[in-house]
Amino acid sequence: MAEPELLVAPNVIEYPFSRTTGPMIGAFMTALREGFIVGCTAADGRVIVPPVEYDPDTAEALTEVVEVGDAGVVASWSWVREPLDGHPLDRPFAFALITLDGADVPMLHAVDTGGDVAAMATGMRVRARWADEREGSILDIACFEPEGAR
């Protein structure tokens, strides 16, 4: 058989999922929309951010939502040299585990150092940069940035 002309076509598959949040993530998202961050108190007294409905150790229902700070300490991080579509920043940044002030468990978010990997360090302090328009989404925090950057 003769070689055919190979066909190539762009393809996009998109699923417009939405989901209910439950009371804890609902409180977390509501707080983000209002411009602050909440966690919950676990059975052993630790503060977990984002808040969870059930205790990770005892599985008992958790009910106490508490406010934490919007700044904290980088516990661990990973540099993203080439951001992809859907990443929170369009220049090199770090995904970081950040232990917010008043929390005992770190939360994942992005840290913007202006593209400078040398400015990233475990133990550094970072503060949330809030999005101008907030709708109740994790991206209501545009990213974190080194404390005192602005």
């Binding site: 002309e5 190979l6 066909l7 598959i13 699923y15 998202m29 509501t30 929309r33 579509d85 859907g86």
Partner: protein
């Protein structure tokens, strides 16, 4: 939910968030490969071609270039008729995102004569509740100037008036 204790700043918030959007998107390039390219280029010429396995003699359409059972290339090309038998179908009554068809419509598996695997396409020109297994159907093509390398070159299949096919003729494809 009522036993959740909220901090003061969250107690009086109007319309707390109860639902979030979590869309998923895959944006990629589809390479048809040699066999399917041959098939689609033939479709653009208003022809349907399958490929026959040299071992089990089954005819696959659209061809993928290899027999999934025997693992050998399917190099013999078969020109196919534009008529077949409905082996299975689904009446779609539910609205969904990205939908282009008017409700209700029927999506069916159609076993083209001389083939051994059914093709999925639409059934039209018949009320949805009259579509049935064994129904004989024919392809309705778009106008020649709109033909292209896509199965959308077939607008749909419609009943061709022949009596229903004997179940034995399609029992391996239901």
């Amino acid at each position: 939910m009522s036993d959740i204790v909220l901090p003061d700043r969250l107690r009086d918030v109007a319309e707390p968030v109860r639902r979030i959007r979590t869309p998923a998107r895959l944006d990629y390039v589809f390479m048809a490969g040699k066999a399917t390219s041959r098939f689609l280029n033939a479709v653009a010429e208003k022809r349907l071609v399958g490929q026959r396995c040299p071992v089990c003699r089954k005819v696959y359409v659209p061809p993928r270039g290899v027999c999934p059972t025997d693992g050998v290339p399917t190099e013999e090309e078969i020109e196919l008729p534009h008529v077949g038998t409905v082996t299975s179908f689904c009446v779609v009554n539910v609205q969904f995102y990205g939908q282009v068809m008017e409700l209700p419509y029927v999506s069916a598996l159609i076993l083209l004569d001389g083939t051994d695997i059914p093709l999925m396409h639409l059934i039209q020109e018949v009320p949805a509740d009259q579509v049935h297994m064994g129904m004989r159907v024919e392809a309705v093509w778009v106008p020649d100037e709109e033909l292209g390398p896509t199965l959308e070159s077939i607008k749909y299949f419609r009943p061709n008036g022949e009596p229903d096919a004997d179940y034995e003729t399609y029992k391996d494809n239901v």
